[in-house]
Symmetry: C2
Subunit: 684 residues, 2 copies
């Protein structure tokens, strides 16, 4: 109890360690370990550093240690020769697993580890290799540059995940994502201890995997953009080496137009079916009334069940609008004769058949929360996306339950919003402990209407790291400022692993600018965010399709503007009277740059066809900069701003708060605060 208390205290305090030389470092651990106790001193990592594997050793452990050494080399700039394997008696860092983990990672395996660091050496112990992989990531995050050289601070960590299911879903159906990009995202997942890749492989817009039994699926349904089975095996192996499970999803009976291009007989309508290019929910759905549908699915699922070793198999099951069923007299007749009262019951009938097939092939079925119906077998896992209520309901009814509502990365929400979503909160909190045990964890979801190979990393990272912490760390780890501080550093670390969320930004801005000098575009881009939720589709002037280039500012802009967040915090500090020296100059520097940025962008607009749509935003930014500066002048003079000035500014700010080019100007709100404060009587 004493240790736990200490840990929580440290977590809340941002975990500041004093190094020998007196300098202070905040530990950049993400996710935060379950238990951590600081000790005195530090272990220096110099060219004499060496590593030994003392316990159980298999290819996964050896690979993990090799990657650890490569990462440590990159982190320190030390050359490969210096970080060699050694024997346990002399090594500075001794790694010991009690036994191997399962050959294929499984749900519920022990992922715990202990890491003890003293000035003379470090020990990493775990029941199996999964814990070792996690502990190695923790060790890497502890490495710091100090006056004494590269060090890791002395401490003791006992760590294990809060939830066994910590996933990332990637939709490769709407936009195809090449294998190497998935691999680097697996590297990122491993770094933040996520352990499930949920691979959404089929959609109306594309069928993305090779079937040898039904080759027209990929040949006619993918525009040539699909993974061969060899590549699938390669990715599963790559994930497995990192302790990550891979769960395939084949969405049915809806979201399945791409299947019908090659096999229209599966559908409930007449066909022929072209690949869908629009986004949304469409009518085509599999025909649940025909025996040949199940025969096809039996063969197909059998083929895929062999390819994917994980026990779980996701069948989608979401968003069936039922129109093809309504329109088909034969299906209506079938429903009538089988006592199926509505489309929900027809889909439940379909699900029962599919579940039997999945089960026959040795797998446990999983689906989106639409599948949650009274007769659903208990072993089926439900993924909640339409709201957390279904999570509680599923757990109450004895289903394994995975939360994704609140974790949709495509909705462009700030990390803090995802971070605040807890699988055990709300209705779940009042379930019995027995029922709560069915809450397996959660999954961040990367739906891909507006995601390309170029910007997918920036949509996933670093925000997914906040979700990863929510799913791994104790529920009490919830200091938002600490999370952001660590998320930014984690973002840098992920860049080092090859993820392009940062490195891809400037090239996209240069393309928009039509010039190597993208400074003007960047100043604007840094303070905008894409519109939230489903507004991008809902408010589009031209209906977006999968054929449209994703090269606009809305595609390059980050989901969350940390510049705007920082500016907003400065404004709040200033207005609350807790001013530090330098705050007002920093605010003014921002505002001046924003006020003066428009001229350059107007000129760039004569060079590039991608500029004109953002010029109104640029003018808004300019107006906000000017308004903020004038407000600061009033505040400095200590006299309230005139009412007519205030109302003119607020009208302008209101205009600036309207989305333009599907972007939001995130500094409008803090500038509004400045203007409002400047018109009040000031007490200094």
């Amino acid at each position: 109890m004493r240790i736990v208390f200490l840990v929580l205290f440290l977590v809340l305090e941002g975990v500041v360690f004093a190094s020998n030389a007196g300098a202070q470092h905040t530990l950049n651990l993400m996710p935060m370990p379950a238990q951590m106790q600081p000790a005195t001193g530090q272990l220096v990592i110099d060219p004499s550093f060496s590593v030994a594997i003392a316990g159980y050793k298999d290819a996964r452990l050896q690979g993990g240690v090799d990657r650890f050494l490569a990462d440590l080399r990159r982190q320190t700039g030390m050359v490969p020769l210096d970080l060699r394997l050694s024997d346990a008696a002399t090594a500075k860092f001794v790694i010991e697993a009690e036994r191997n983990s399962k050959e294929i990672p499984e749900l519920g395996e022990d992922e715990s580890y202990s890491l003890e660091i003293t000035p003379s050496g470090a020990k990493l112990n775990a029941p199996n290799t999964l814990g070792i992989l996690h502990g190695l990531q923790t060790f890497l995050q502890l490495v710091q540059n100090t006056p004494a050289g590269f060090v890791v601070p002395a401490l003791v960590i006992h760590d294990q995940p809060r939830f066994p299911w910590r996933g990332l879903m990637i939709d490769v159906g709407r936009h195809f994502i090449p294998l190497d990009i998935l691999k680097r995202n697996l590297d990122g997942m491993a770094a933040v201890k996520l352990n499930v890749l949920h691979w959404h492989l089929s959609e109306n817009q594309g069928f993305r995997i090779e079937s040898k039994k039904f080759p027209k699926l990929q040949e006619m349904g993918s525009d040539g953009l699909y993974y061969t089975q060899e590549e699938v095996r390669e990715l599963i192996a790559y994930a497995g080496e990192r302790g990550i499970r891979v769960i395939p999803e084949f969405d049915m009976p809806g979201h399945s137009t791409a299947w019908f291009v090659g096999y229209p007989e599966l559908a409930s309508g007449k066909g022929p079916y072209p690949i869908e290019r629009r986004w949304g929910v469409f009518d085509p759905a599999m025909d649940p009334t025909q025996e040949h549908t199940y025969k096809f699915l039996d063969e197909f699922i059998g083929e895929m069940a062999k390819l994917f070793p994980d026990r779980y198999f996701h069948i989608g099951g979401d968003e069936v609008n039922g129109k093809e069923w309504d329109a088909n007299p034969r299906i209506q007749e079938f429903m009538h004769s089988h006592g199926l009262k509505n489309n929900d019951e027809l889909q439940a009938y379909f699900n029962q058949h599919v579940q039997a097939i999945v089960s026959k092939h040795g797998k446990i079925m999983m689906g989106w929360d639409e599948i949650l119906k009274p007769d659903l077998p208990k072993e089926v896992v439900v993924q909640s996306w339409r709201g957390a209520a279904s999570l509680a309901q599923a757990a109450r009814e004895g289903h394994g339950a995975v939360l994704s509502s609140g974790y949709y990365l495509d909705l462009m929400q700030p990390a803090s919003q995802h971070y605040a979503v807890d699988p055990m909160a709300g209705e779940v909190a009042s379930l019995s402990p027995e029922q709560q045990r069915h809450i397996l964890g959660g999954e961040a979801c990367m739906w891909a209407e507006f995601v390309s190979p170029e910007n997918i990393d920036s949509r996933i990272w670093p925000r997914a790291a906040a979700i990863a912490e929510r799913l791994w760390s104790p529920q009490t780890v919830n200091d938002v400022d600490s999370m952001y501080r660590r998320m930014v550093l984690t973002g840098d670390w992920l860049s080092g692993l090859g993820l392009s969320h940062d490195s891809g930004y400037e090239p996209m801005l240069q393309r928009i600018a039509g010039s190597e000098d993208a400074a003007g575009v960047r100043t604007l881009a840094d303070v905008v965010e894409p519109v939230k939720q489903y507004a991008r589709s809902d408010q589009a002037v031209t209906e977006p399709t999968s054929l449209m280039p994703l090269n606009r500012l809305v595609d390059a802009a980050r989901p969350e503007s940390l510049t705007a967040r920082h500016f907003s915090a400065l404004v709040d500090g200033l207005l609350s009277g807790q001013t530090r020296p330098g705050v007002e100059p920093e605010l003014r520097a921002f505002l001046v740059r924003w006020r003066d940025n428009d001229a350059g962008l107007q000129a760039a607009g004569e060079q590039s066809f991608l500029i004109p749509e953002i010029l109104p935003l640029s003018q808004d930014l300019s107006a906000l900069g000017a308004a903020g500066l004038e407000a600061l002048d009033f505040l400095d003079r200590g006299e309230p701003a005139p009412e007519n000035w205030k109302s003119a500014q607020l009208a302008r700010i209101e205009e600036a708060e309207k989305p333009k080019a599907q972007l939001l100007l995130m500094i409008a709100s803090p500038v509004r605060k400045l203007v409002e404060a400047s018109a009040k009587t000031i007490t200094k």
Copy 2:
């Protein structure tokens, strides 16, 4: 003749095209084509753009077109579906090769191509696929963002290389460079039309390739860091797909300590031999007097000759100090009995034997210019590194000759210096045309004493692009400012291909800073360059070895500071009286930043052990900033600065010009100019 004249004019003028909308774009072609004629209008690249292969088509051509489409997608943000292959009748871009090129690229193949772009379409024609690959790179460099969308300007290009041998040598012996980094450098080479990778595979510090016949070479001589034969084949194929030849170098009889770790019987001394960790020229050398040496080389070269398909085979031959030969009585006796008067003759004897072996295995020998001896068979190619005189001598004596003197990237020279080195200049210019025909081209050389996987790209790129232009473009293409302008843009393009010369900079600076905020380090890093030539080794306090981390500012700093170059140009402009508005404010902004940068770095020095050595430089930078500002004040007032002020400043500048932490402050010289000018009587 008319076309050529026009082209030269355009080149000198920086090649400015007027687009339909009146905006002007400078073409970013590097290397510049041999002949180019602008036309009216432009071809728009929009989602309807399509490509057809009309002529000869093989796997290399298809691969080149696939990469072209991927690059074009990346450049435009258009999604894959939109850029599809089509038939020649309807395609916007028709590609036609008359015939295939050789299965393995060969020296002297026709690399020419013609590219004709009109507003309605583009045609790329070439005698074979090599020219098509080059033409596709040219097309990509022509793509611009304009008010009309993405376009390529209408023009006609007839292009071919000036020299058939345009190489990049990479030393993987001193520091091992992983295969994926070599691959991305091959991508970079293809982008600037380099066509030879010279792979320096063995050194005192490492033997980097698997030999199945003599496995102790890699097992004992590489620290485990070597390429398997499978990987070698993979790299050769990767290069071949890009039209790039791969020439292996096995340096002998010197630079070969790593061979002797496993096979001491090859050496002229007693052994045992450990892997060498220091840099320099060492005593160990193969024993040229023993039959078993040649038997070993016969088997080894036979094995490697099968692995490497290129006709040329490099045997090194440089820097033998002869000390082991002098010290071995048996070798001395052999020399006496064979009438070999000195070590040069002994090495010539060795080379003759090796040449016979290389020739027996179907290859043409190549070596560094030390091998140039009277009896050297004419077919042997000589690579000049000790000076251009050997280039002329080799050509005069009928050898193929490749220039590397002046193209050593490790010497940290500015691109302009490499650019000014012409294989046909100097003594070569006075050779007969027949003799000049033996000048094959040149090779940039990346020796790797201070090169790691992390910084190698920044040592090669973008400077190698300037050498590539020297070797491809007409001799008359030599406008240095135009070269720099295009080199910077080419650098961005190369970053897009995955090269890390830019993306790796900030992470290295953050490591030095020990913080995510590396702004203070960056301000300093942006204006320093590593010491030139061999000063880093010569002036080192501690003798550098291969075990030392390469994580200091000298390892991160760019070989050429473009910030300093820009500042220097501004100063020259100001002092020559050709002032533009904004020049002085820009100068002052630089100087203020430099003057005020030191405080932050001093604080960072308390966080990071990598900072203290650069603090004296930081103080110099601060002093230079202050001196420059004061000088501008005097210039503004129009009165000469006092002599005592001037001499105090010049003394301080002299101190700032001294290398520190093996770095040079590149703004010392322009600040000196400001100070000197400010003390003169001004005529305004």
